[in-house]
């Protein structure tokens, strides 16, 4: 097809050719083509088949308001051909067809539409019951548009940006551009978002005069130039607004050009004030077969010619309801399109200057006429026009029907932000009311049509946004308001018209193949709320969302009701306003995890790492998943564990002790210098949430530890539970400041004494002692003698930057004993043998301190401390029906250990196994379980129901804990 050349409005570069592969054939176009314009220029009329009836569908709006032109591009389905620029080498395929869009074997579905009334799927396939599981498989296959391969990878880089702004303007048409210039003049930070790749909006393609000698497109470019020169305006072109939230949070995404280093990027802006100048889209005309390829909206036909240099067809009929239609007819005629006639649904009210221009070109003009039926099996052949009463009819041959009922404002951003939409009889628009504070609407969306008034309304909104930012522009605002009042206000819109139709295929929603007959059916069944009709018929729930159905559905429903108290109510607008790739939302999605100071050496030592909340930790270092060698090394020799993730805190100040008394169940007044003190924290339900050790560093100055999971929340927790007290204390989270090495095993002392400057004998540094040492005279170490794994062990807290050196020094010192790493799995078994609990493992949400047998830590006498959880601990202390923690061994020592999490049953579930492992030290399995109180007595049999056990229960018996070294002499040696 020949391209129109030399038009000043063109946005393509005819000098540079591009090509794509479509359906296996190569097609050529020019730089600046979208997939849709390139294919259209090459003669493609049927782009796809519809979802339900497989009706042929073609180019309709050029703005992606329906799935009509959805194609598969480079294995990515559901790509809208209308707003996807051609890249060289693109491979485009049609989708949702069995065959080709031209010859689709599923086309017979269109003949079956009588069998598919609204909601038909609720009434069939369920009788007999066995039919449904078979039917469902076929339904799934026929549903859906494009298909996606499970291993397809989307190419390109996806990024995000959070630019800061004072004023954010949505839409760079004449109103938006004027608003931006007004705000920028006050030195504010302005952001302008425009969905098209260029500025200008609906000025951009029109040659009608703005002022004598100044066509609209030139005026648009003039404004654009001013904007590009303003230093404090950031312009985001090709950027679709997708969300608009309270407190002026705007989200959008920008498509990258070849010069950008992103394919698409997510844009999120929090602005002080927002101007919405999104203009209008056209509302579809309702008539029989209004979806036939060859039928398109005014802007589609006009922009196709003016922006891309493609004439829509050879012979066109216009059935329009707005002056833009007449203007387009005149312009397209002059560009070479033969026009059979122009029908205008309005009987009067068009610009009187326009009909004479039609007459001058011998184009018949039919005011008060409208398209009633489109003919042609696949593509348009002719059109029946009728007057509004349906009495007179006339047919016209054509290959193009420009059909448009009028305009409807793009109110999505305002509605998402909380504005209500009210029907306005004058404009025929759903106009926003109750617009949130610091948000303004401007331009054509208010019904303005005079170009000067549109620009001025933009300027006014821009100034109001300036005022929102606290600048005194009141006088200027009044001046502009007066000026605007003198210009023409909102124009009268065309009536809502449904052409007199005898047939059944008048589509309210293209994506879901919903006809006005379906709406009638739904209403007869009792669905009388537009929102419910939408759900029942699925009108407006397809890829274009409310774009096609949004205006006509509520008006049709109101019209059918003919009830005077019923206002047309549009359905709820939902984000995203434009379908948005998950890749774009996800952006770079940086993985952020925490590493301990010896992370690299743990990995180098063969550590199998796993995520533990934000941290990465080593689970084990040997291939054997039970970590036997690591366990035995600790029991018989000496091992080192990286325990740096433990929470570590300093708390000091006059009221520090009071704060500790509030959150710890024990009497923290007993915490002294040189010794470690173990205690636990409960929540208000008396359930254990944390345990750790504390020591006193100086007067009113304490150092304490928490479990890894609680490190991030402990400061908050203490402050929360003292929030009404106004106590004077200070907390510092030192979790990351110190690395922790647990040096454990009978040879631990022999290793440590080689490197520290102080005495580490049992007498000088006894169990539960706290000492500060220097290693090699340089590394300060806080050492604690604790016994979590049940052997002689030292927990060494060392400034994180020294941690790797200390680790290396200990490894070197331990070389003679073959010192070795151990990981979390080994630690888990070691502590299990000692009957030491890990919270979250031996406890659940509802487990109290009493339940895990640690009730004795609770000091009930410190009433004045108002310890968190004390009330609940008192109320539950004698409750024998609760789950209790017990130790168990298998009745047959040769049996294997039950798997963690297995329930304990006796008629019903009575508890579950928390942790169970084979104990290499005891040569039999041991475990801990939470069981109902009556099972907690020593020697009671526990029957364990493992998953997939096929009725074979495992038998265990309750035994006292600890299993290993019950007197604790090994950790005290």
């Amino acid at each position: 097809m020949k391209r129109l050349a030399g038009l000043p409005t063109l946005r393509v570069n005819s000098a540079r050719a591009v090509s794509i592969e479509y359906d296996g054939k190569r097609f050529h176009g020019v730089e600046g083509d979208t997939v849709a314009t390139l294919l259209y220029a090459n003669g493609t009329r049927i782009f796809s088949r519809s979802l339900k009836y497989h009706r042929p569908r073609g180019l309709y709006s050029l703005d992606g308001q329906s799935s009509n032109t959805y194609v598969d591009v480079d294995d990515i389905p559901n790509v809208c051909a209308e707003n996807t620029f051609v890249g060289n080498g693109m491979r485009v395929e049609p989708q949702n067809v069995l065959g080709t869009p031209e010859h689709d074997w599923m086309a017979f579905m269109d003949k079956l539409s009588w069998a598919m009334p609204a909601g038909f799927y609720y009434t069939i396939f369920h009788k007999p019951a066995r039919l449904w599981p078979i039917a469902v498989r076929h339904i799934r296959k026929t549903a859906g548009l494009g298909s996606l391969s499970p291993d397809v990878e989307l190419r390109g880089r996806f990024d995000q940006i959070y630019p800061a702004a004072d004023v954010c303007i949505i839409g760079a048409g004449p109103a938006g551009m004027s608003a931006a210039l007004a705000a920028a003049a006050q030195k504010l930070r302005v952001i302008l978002l425009e969905s098209r790749p260029w500025l200008g909006g609906y000025f951009d393609y029109r040659t009608r005069n703005h002022k004598p000698g100044m066509p609209l497109y030139l005026r648009g470019r003039q404004l654009a130039d001013q904007l590009e020169q303003a230093p404090n305006i950031r312009i985001f072109k090709h950027t679709a607004v997708i969300g608009c939230y309270s407190n002026n949070l705007i989200t959008a995404f920008q498509r990258g050009s070849e010069a950008d280093c992103f394919a698409e990027r997510y844009v999120q802006i929090r602005a002080e004030s927002v101007v919405v100048a999104t203009g209008c889209i056209e509302r579809p005309l309702l008539f029989e077969n209004n979806d036939r390829p060859g039928i398109m909206q005014i802007g589609c036909a006009h922009r196709l010619a003016r922006t891309w240099g493609v004439l829509a067809g050879e012979q066109a009929v216009f059935s329009i309801g707005h002056d833009l239609g007449i203007e387009a007819a005149i312009d397209l005629h002059d560009l070479g399109l033969s026009i059979a006639c122009v029908a205008d649904v309005r009987e009067d009210g068009c610009d009187p200057a326009l009909p004479p221009q039609l007459e001058a070109r011998n184009i018949p003009f039919y005011p008060g006429w409208v398209a009633a039926k489109a003919h042609g099996r696949k593509v348009l052949k002719k059109v029946t026009l009728t007057n509004l009463s349906g009495v007179c009819k006339q047919q016209f041959d054509c290959d193009t029907l420009v059909a448009s009922a009028g305009l409807t404002p793009v109110t999505g951003p305002l509605a998402l932000a909380g504005a209500r939409l009210e029907y306005d009889a004058h404009t025929g628009y759903f106009l926003p009311t109750g617009i949130p504070q610091k948000m303004h609407a401007a331009g054509r969306m208010l019904g303005l049509e005079d170009p000067t008034a549109i620009e001025l309304s933009g300027r006014l909104a821009g100034l109001r946004a300036v005022a929102d930012c606290g600048m005194a522009v009141g006088a200027t605002i009044s001046g502009v308001e007066e000026e605007l009042a003198k210009l023409p206000g909102p124009a009268r819109g065309s009536k809502f018209v449904v052409a007199p139709v005898e047939g059944k295929k008048t589509f309210v929603c293209f994506d879901e193949d919903v006809t006005i007959q379906n709406i009638d059916q739904a209403m007869r069944l009792g669905f009388d709320v537009t929102e419910l009709i939408k759900r029942f018929t699925s009108a407006g729930t397809g890829p274009g969302q409310g774009g096609i159905a949004g205006h006509n559905l509520p008006l049709y429903v109101a019209l059918t009701h003919r009830s005077p108290d019923l206002h047309p109510r549009p359905t709820t607008v939902r984000p995203p306003l434009v379908p948005t790739l998950l890749a774009t939302y996800a952006g770079t999605n940086h993985p952020m995890s925490k590493r301990t100071p010896v992370h690299a050496s743990q990995v180098a030592a063969g550590g199998v790492m796993e995520r533990l909340q934000p941290w990465q930790r080593a689970r084990r270092f040997c291939a054997d998943t039970t970590a036997r060698a690591e366990i035995e090394n600790v029991r018989t020799n000496v091992g080192m564990l990286d325990a740096s993730t433990l929470g570590k805190f300093r708390i000091f100040g006059p009221d520090a002790l009071k704060a500790l008394q509030r959150v710890y169940v024990s009497d923290m007044a007993r915490v002294s210098t040189g010794r470690m003190y173990y205690s636990a924290m409960c929540n208000e339900d008396g359930c254990v949430i944390d345990d750790g050790v504390a020591t006193q560093i100086a007067e009113n100055d304490y150092y304490f530890t928490t479990s890894t999971g609680r490190a991030g929340e402990t400061s908050e927790w203490i402050r929360y539970h003292t929030r009404y007290d106004r106590w004077d204390f200070h907390i510092i989270n030192l979790t990351d400041a110190y690395g922790v090495i647990n040096l454990a095993g009978p040879n631990a002392r022999k290793v440590l004494e080689k490197v520290v400057d102080g005495a580490v004998s049992n007498e000088a540094f006894p169990f539960l002692g706290f000492r500060e040492f220097m290693v090699h005279g340089a590394i300060p170490v806080r050492a604690m003698r604790l016994g979590f794994v049940g052997e002689l062990s030292f927990e060494l807290h060392v400034p994180s930057s020294y941690m790797q050196s200390l680790w290396d020094i200990l490894e070197e010192a331990g070389e003679e004993f073959a010192i070795w790493n151990f990981g979390l799995e080994a630690q888990n078994t070691l502590r299990l043998e000692k009957g030491h609990v890990i919270l979250g493992s031996e406890s659940e949400q509802r487990t109290t301190l009493h339940d895990i047998g640690l009730g004795f830590f609770w000091h009930r006498d410190k009433l004045e401390a108002q310890t968190v959880g004390a009330v609940a601990l008192k109320q539950t202390e004698n409750d024998t029906s609760r789950l209790k923690l017990v130790g168990f061994k298998m009745e047959e020592p040769a049996a294997r250990a039950p798997r963690d999490g297995s329930p304990i049953v006796a008629e019903r579930i009575r508890g579950y196994v928390c942790t169970a492992r084979y104990s290499y030290a005891l040569k039999e399995p041991v475990g801990m379980a939470l069981v109902e109180g009556y099972l907690a007595k020593n020697a009671t049999r526990l029957t364990i129901f493992e998953d997939d056990c096929k009725g074979e229960l495992m038998k265990a018996k309750v035994v006292p804990m600890p299993f290993y070294d019950p007197t604790g002499k090994r950790m005290r040696m």
Binding site: S246, N248, T722, V871
Partner: protein, 87 residues
């Protein structure tokens, strides 16, 4: 919806920087003689106000301060209150 919360230290920020700390129910009742029902009432039960309520928030991703604000739960917007406190 995009909640903002005004931290007394850091100013207006995205709501996601904060932790919600519950309806403001005042200091806990004295433990002595507290019935299970009265205890439960303080700890678990809420007014679930559809309207303005006073509540605690912590600027956990920022300065760490606990403070109270008033918020309209039907609009999810912070509103001006008689006074707010911080600790």
């Amino acid at each position: 919806m995009a909640l903002t919360i005004t931290c007394p230290i850091c100013g207006k920020r995205s709501g996601y920087e904060f932790r919600f700390g519950g309806e403001d129910k005042g200091p806990p009742p004295q433990a002595a003689g507290l019935t299970p029902a009265a205890w439960c009432d303080y700890v678990h039960r809420n007014n679930c106000v559809a309207g303005v309520q006073k509540e605690w928030w912590c600027h956990r991703q920022g300065c760490g301060t606990w403070f109270s604000i008033y918020r309209d739960t039907t609009k999810n917007l912070e509103v001006a209150g008689p006074q707010s406190e911080d600790v």
